[in-house]
């Protein structure tokens, strides 16, 4: 898939054929992505009777309410905290797991087998994987039982489950795969001869990591970051279940608002969140052309 130089020079027939091929995709995305976003945008400007009824009068009241509320700041800070923590842990684990598979496993088939082993849980239910921490982290869970038996603690630790710690554990558990796959993909393309040349030129193992492997996996890191950041910022159910209702994020507050039929406030907060997300994603996209990256 070599993209030809410029779309402006493409002959009209190529334009028509291209659009014909992507038309089914567009026919799904317009009603189920573009239109819903516009509906939410419109709803954020509507007035409400407080019982779920919307009156089409243009008002900025919802935005004023959202931006003036101290809760908003708190929610964003909580969301950013979860996002940053999850990003750091998934990046470190994901990078070194990919590094191990690409550079340390000698047998190619074994490397692919181990890689598949990491990807299998991605294809199973997220909710199930989340609740599977209950028998481990709970007050009478395995970790507390083990620590009590070893005499490390006298009282079972309560912070393990239904806490911010549990939320971050669940995120890292679910999302590290989104780092491993793209980083593995870009690392696997690094020409091993380049590394041999660096060794011949006297580079240390750390030099190779710093000067060759990290820069050349940058696009994979960027792609993984987009996935992890957008999923954590858009999540509500991990935060709701794993914090036991103790913590909230922007989207979990949105969920509560929808539950009590406060559509305009919910919509305004959703619009703001989407803007933040778009800003982050486009910042990342500036550093990497993902389309070229995927098609290369």
């Amino acid at each position: 898939m070599q993209p030809s130089p410029s779309s402006a020079q493409a002959p009209p027939r190529a334009n028509l054929a291209g659009w014909l091929y992507v038309s089914p995709l567009v026919l799904v995305l317009v009603p189920f992505f573009v239109a819903p976003i516009l509906v939410v945008l419109a709803a954020s400007f509507f007035a409400t009777d407080g019982f779920g009824g919307l009156t089409p009068e243009f008002t900025l009241a919802s935005y004023v309410e959202v931006l003036h509320s101290a809760l908003t700041l708190k929610l964003y800070l909580a969301t950013i905290k979860f996002t940053v923590l999850t990003w750091i842990f998934t990046l470190i684990i994901g990078f070194f797991v990919a590094y191990f598979l690409v550079f340390h496993v000698r047998n190619q088939l074994l490397a692919i087998g181990l890689f598949l082993l990491c990807t299998v849980p991605f294809w199973t239910s997220n909710i199930i994987r989340m609740i599977s921490w209950i028998p481990l982290l709970g007050k009478e869970g395995l970790i507390n039982q083990a620590l009590l038996a070893l005499g490390v603690i006298r009282q079972p630790l309560e912070v393990l489950l239904f806490s911010d710690l549990a939320v971050v554990i669940a995120y890292v558990h679910q999302l590290t795969i989104f780092m491993i796959v793209p980083i593995f993909n870009s690392m696997a393309r690094i020409d091993k001869k380049l590394i041999e040349a660096a060794i011949d030129a006297g580079a240390s193992r750390f030099d190779i990591l710093r000067l060759i492997v990290v820069p050349m996996s940058k696009s994979g890191i960027a792609l993984g970051t987009i996935f992890v950041v957008s999923i954590v910022m858009g999540d509500f159910f991990v935060v709701k279940v794993m914090s036991g209702g103790g913590s909230a994020s922007v989207v979990s507050a949105f969920y509560e608002d929808v539950g009590v039929l406060q559509y305009p406030t919910a919509a305004a907060s959703a619009v703001l969140l989407t803007l933040v997300l778009v800003a982050i994603v486009s910042l990342i996209l500036r550093t990497v052309d993902i389309r070229q990256e995927i098609t290369r």
Binding site: L29, G141, A198
Partner: protein, 301 residues
């Protein structure tokens, strides 16, 4: 995950190149560097943390009637599986299971066809292709719950009833299609254009070249797209929440169970859905391997 397919393709070639070249960081013979042992430990811990909790709930779901949510195991039986499909208080598990499977099959079929066509379209530049591409990326990264609410409100405004086979179907496609197209990108980038041109030179029509050359060559990639379509739909939650209407899909049923049910039935349901996922993953990977093997043997003959 697209890398998996890419590398299944690549294995044969890279075997010959790989032997001498991997010397640098990890020598292919002789002693291993200390980093190997550190990273191997990290990798093992990661895999244990990945699978450990899941296996805990599979084991705990086989307790008998005295069973609780934590270890130690209290007896062993299939009580909670029977309970799951017979008790009324756990909700309509059977119905939601049926709906989820049907929905996933429909989503899979549409995802494979639409992603394949879009993959063909994106091979050449055309006016507006970047716009369509970013629309797709937007659909992928947008918060699912917000999109779901928008879809729900849209259906309400148009006077349509939200249901799992209309609004939820569309909402799930807005999630599975971007994944499917991205996988198609990776698959297509390894397709050799010479084969297609050869087909045209031999007088094939566009449709013939797609049907007789591209689909057979790309079959493993299409199976992978199907795997994505099925599992992403079968497990989809956030986008379905506001769009499924009055009848739940399975993840919605599990969600409401996590809020009400505090018995190992919940774990039993986890075991059942995971078995379904594993059957689908196994069938997909198996058929990819089978296709590759068939090719290997016919190439030798």
């Amino acid at each position: 995950m697209s890398a998996v397919l890419a590398d299944i393709h690549k294995t044969d070639m890279s075997k010959s190149v790989g032997s001498a070249a991997t010397k640098a960081i990890a020598p292919s013979k002789g002693g291993r560097p200390w980093t190997f042992y550190v990273l191997a430990t990290l990798f093992s811990l990661y895999v244990i943390a990945l699978y450990g909790p899941m296996f805990c709930i599979y084991i705990l779901s086989f307790q008998d009637i005295r069973g609780g949510l934590v270890f130690p195991m209290k007896g062993h039986s299939l009580h909670w599986f029977v309970d799951l499909f017979t008790q009324v208080r756990t909700g309509d598990v059977k119905g939601s299971f049926d709906r989820s499977i049907k929905l996933a099959v429909i989503v899979t079929a549409i995802t494979v066809v639409v992603s394949f066509l879009a993959g063909l379209g994106f091979r050449k530049r055309f006016r507006g292709d970047t716009f369509v591409f970013y629309m797709m990326i937007g659909s992928l990264v947008a918060p699912g719950l917000v999109l779901g609410l928008g879809t729900g409100l849209l259906f309400q405004a148009l006077g349509l009833n939200a249901s799992w086979y209309t609004s939820a179907l569309g909402a799930q496609l807005s999630w599975t299609l971007p994944f499917g197209v991205l996988v198609m990108f990776a698959v297509m980038s390894r397709f050799n254009h010479v084969w297609e041109e050869a087909a045209y030179d031999l007088g094939a029509s566009r449709w013939q070249s797609i049907r007789l050359v591209m689909i057979p060559v790309l079959a493993p990639g299409l199976v992978a797209v199907a795997l994505f379509g099925f599992t992403l739909s079968y497990d989809e939650f956030a986008r379905s929440l506001q769009t499924a209407g009055s009848l739940n899909t399975l993840p919605l049923e599990i969600w409401s169970m996590t809020l009400n049910v505090t018995s190992p039935s919940l774990y039993a349901l986890g075991t059942v859905t995971t078995i379904v996922s594993f059957v689908v993953i196994g069938a997909s990977l198996g058929s990819i391997v089978l296709i590759q093997k068939k090719r290997g043997s016919s190439a030798k003959a």
